[in-house]
């Protein structure tokens, strides 16, 4: 039986998620793993927007902020269960993305960059200034998801770190499955045509504006859900989640690992999440090294780390 690339990708991911804990020396590794999965989930949205459709957003953290604060606020003010708050956040993000995306997606390259940047900054500004609602720049507490207690009642006892590791791992798997399905669908093919050449895509009858908007909305939902998970996992969130640096981080993770491929982008999320943990010994040099890594990879491995490395391995094999 020959594996399709889609099944292979999912199997590799599932195996990694299931097997790496066997080597974890302490609970801290579950925390790092969970962070990688949550970041990986938000980066999957960038795969669709940047990797497939070729559009650049410098404000996607704004959607992560909406998702995160939905989980902090909706349970308290609307009495919603945190799980439903994730859905609410995603719906709000989708609507915002649709409203904002329609005008700004007409813009190209850097102009799209500054417009999305403006959106992200507006969200983080509202989150830090509307103190009566969000408690301001110092952040706000987030209720417990409650799922761990539910599992405990069903006889499955997990430590907090372990629970979040597996829960976010499963979310990542589902997210990856959806992206891979999209890739093989007619919409996915049209998106990739768009990336190749917008004008060419238009001449063969692709509705460019609608497609871009779809990609933007879907990627916003990914960012929003990832923001929700992060907030629920940390039980605390600050407006930094919507900040410019977080937007940059998302794009960098995707592009560094390889925005055109699901595994590549997740790999990028892994590298950038692990980097500060590995570099603690050289904390003084962390920024220096991070900057150097970003430049070097982009100069010498333009398609991203994973695709470039795989190509090299394959090249040697032939």
């Amino acid at each position: 039986m020959k594996l399709t690339p889609k099944t292979a990708t999912l199997l590799v991911l599932a195996a990694l998620i299931a097997l790496t804990p066997l080597f974890f020396p302490s609970g801290y590794y579950y925390r790092v793993g969970a962070l990688i999965f949550v970041n990986g989930l938000s980066v999957l949205g960038i795969v669709i927007l940047t990797g497939y459709a070729g559009q650049v957003s410098l404000g996607h953290a704004g959607f992560a902020g909406i998702g995160a604060y939905a989980c902090a606020l909706a349970p308290v003010h609307l009495g919603l269960h945190p799980a439903l708050a994730i859905v609410l956040g995603a719906v709000i993000s989708a609507i915002m993305a649709w409203l904002v995306g329609r005008p700004i997606l007409r813009l190209k390259g850097y102009y799209l960059g500054v417009a999305s940047l403006g959106f992200g900054i507006l969200v983080s500004m509202v989150l830090s200034n509307e103190r009566w609602l969000t408690k301001g720049p110092d952040g706000i507490e987030v209720p417990d998801l409650g799922l761990r207690d539910l599992l405990k009642d069903m006889g499955l006892k997990l430590a907090n770190g372990e629970f979040w590791y597996f829960f976010s791992g499963i979310c990542l798997l589902i997210g990856a499955w959806l992206v891979l399905n999209l890739y093989n669908s007619p919409t996915g093919r049209a998106l990739r045509a768009l990336h190749g050449s917008e004008i060419a895509a238009r001449t063969v009858g692709v509705d460019v504006a609608k497609l871009k908007l779809q990609a933007f909305v879907i990627s916003a939902v990914y960012a929003s859900v990832a923001g929700s998970l992060l907030a629920l996992m940390n039980k605390f969130v600050t407006p930094d989640v919507a900040g410019f640096m977080h937007s940059i981080e998302m794009v960098t993770m995707a592009v560094l690992g390889g925005a055109g491929s699901v595994l590549g982008a997740i790999f990028g999320a892994g590298i950038l999440t692990l980097l500060p943990q590995v570099l603690t010994v050289f904390a003084e040099y962390e920024q220096l090294m991070l900057g150097a890594v970003m430049m070097l990879v982009m100069i010498f491995m333009r398609d991203g780390l994973l695709p470039s490395v795989l190509r090299k391995i394959r090249g040697r094999g032939e």
Binding site: L58, V114, G118, V251, L290, M295, I299
Partner: protein
Amino acid sequence: MSELMQFLLSGATVGAVYALVALGFTIIYNASDVVNFAQGEFVMLGGMTTVFAHAAGLPLPLAALVAVVATSALGVALNKLAIEPARGAPVVSLIIITIGASIFIRGAAQLVFDKQIHRFPAFTGDDPLHILGATILPQSLWVIGGALVVFVALWLFFTRTLTGRAVLATSNNRLAAQLVGINTNWVMTLSFALSAGIGALAGVLVTPITMTSYDVGIALALKGFAAAMLGGMGNPKGALVGGILLGLLESLTAGYLSSTYKDAAAFIVILGVLFFMPQGLFGRKSTDRV
């Protein structure tokens, strides 16, 4: 009346800072279609190098000169080491490269210099000048004057000199420029040197007002970037007008509406302008290459 005047003077001061940063963006963009997100770090380096050269005993003007020259050299190095090897890379890769460069420079600055906030004395004292019941610091006039001089010089450079036109030609069509005998590598080197030098000059001029530290670059780069986009990327006139406009918008919003949302007002106006004029106020119409 005197209040309005004060808001205008405040806006002009801040706007001139943005305009100086935005002007730095213009040159590199014109030569290479790259928006250099490390532009803010040039401004930081201008200020910080001057502070440390001055503290080491150099007189202020000499320290400032050292800062501008050193930063220009760094600009050239950035081009040779990071931008040239990545020629033809997509926009998103270039954004990450220049942001990577900015993180790298910031990381180096916190090791070479320190993490303290610094300032050096204003060039011509701190006694405010009075205009129609409002006040302005002499240093603000230096910044505004600096922005105007740089603007005029750039405008003359791009329209009146052969080299300047070569830069524009390179930006429009690199291959055609090479065919007519323009040394495009030299154009790129020159652009990065000039741009970094202007950034450093901005840092020297604004430090007595805004103070400086290793991490002032990002905020300045974002505002300068926004100003340049508002005016239309690549046009010195756009950079100047965009910068001043952004400054005035902020101070008038702070004065009459809400100081909390002054930055928001600025970004909403930018979004509005881009909606109706996707190339900014003075942007050149570009045609897509198929």
